[in-house]
Amino acid sequence: MLTFTLPSLGADMERGRLVEWRVKPGDTVARGQVVAVVDTDKAAIEVECWQPGVVHALLVPVGETVPVGTPLATLLELGETAPAPGTTEPARAVAAATATAVRASPGARERARELGLDLATLAAGSAAGTLTRSDVERAAAAPVGARTSGEGTELRRTIAAAMARSKREIPHYYLAETLCVARATAWLERRNEGRPAGARLVLAALLVKSVARAAQEYPDFNGWFQDGAHRPSGQVNVGLAVALRGGGVIAPALAGAERASPDELMRALTDLVTRARAGALRSSEIGTATITITSLGERGVEAVFGVIHAPQVALVGFGSPAERPWVLDGEVRPAPVLVATLAADHRVSDGHRGALFLARIAALVQRPEEL
């Protein structure tokens, strides 16, 4: 008999609320299959099971909040027969199979929690689709009360704790480099011509690929700092800082970006951003990033100097591409330029290595045909 426990979906997670069971007793589970949806402080996460087996019993009912490590279900190994009834009686019988799942955005979940409203009740009264923050606020507006949430939200507190820890523990250093992206944007234009919007590439895909390739070549910027030492990662999982509608940020990981073609990467990026915003991330995407990219620049700023997501050791930031005077072959010309920044952990690397890493990213971005 195997026990499936609530995994830690990020270093700062202590508990999670079971939102939905995707399996019922008797179902065969494949390795990597999504078996449940758990709401954490940050988002609703689809939890995968990494052991194949047959579901024997669900131990935690929908709606219950339990600490990390709590047994959620028992599984029979493939070929194992169920024990006689009564010998391993599960703590609680569950009616999970009959419970309906509530589809709601992270913003809606957060707002409902703040306002003390039950999402299931709101969903029952709503026509269809995914509950949004404004659905929750409309529902809350009916009984007008003096509800103030002065102390901030759960997500805000989680971000505050993680960022304070990073700034307390990590001696950051910062580097910046301005790159001319004329070749990359011209390449994208040619590449996208005549393609429908759904098949086009954006500059972000080239940036992610460049960082992933450079991180593979410079292991001192990839991996985790644990137990007093840097442990470089054999693979690159790029964490992408995604701004959530309604506030907050989450940085799910994209695995294998260094090997993906630009088209594959674009599809994976679109899928990841869409699911992050909809609150449908998977457990393997949370807390597994080995380096993070933030491109706050899309909100119009020139450069972003980020805070490293501990236990990672580097964060690459991209500003907004803008037309600027640029000197090429002794002449000043207008060109699209972009500021790339690096925030890195001085316990692991020095400015010189950082400069080489950033220069490598810049070189890769400027040769899109080789990505």
């Binding site: 759904g198 954006v202 972000a204 309604g246 990026l269 909100r299």
Partner: protein, 85 residues
Amino acid sequence: MEEPELRREVMRALRAVAPEVEEAALDPRAPLREQVDLDSIDFLRFLAELEARLGIAIPEAEYARLTSLDSLVQALAERSAPARR
């Protein structure tokens, strides 16, 4: 397709990407991407949704015209009804 109908399709496509958006809260003459907080990936998803709903192509060269809700609807009206002009 007439303008009011086009506008409804635009709002539907927008809500597919940003479910919380309400038309009443939008300034139809101000830049849409800033108001709705669409990054480049969101914007492409929005255009892909529009292309699918309207059965037209929206090339990259048109992006400069697709700023506010009003100019977007105007550009789409021209694209979806070339025979009338």
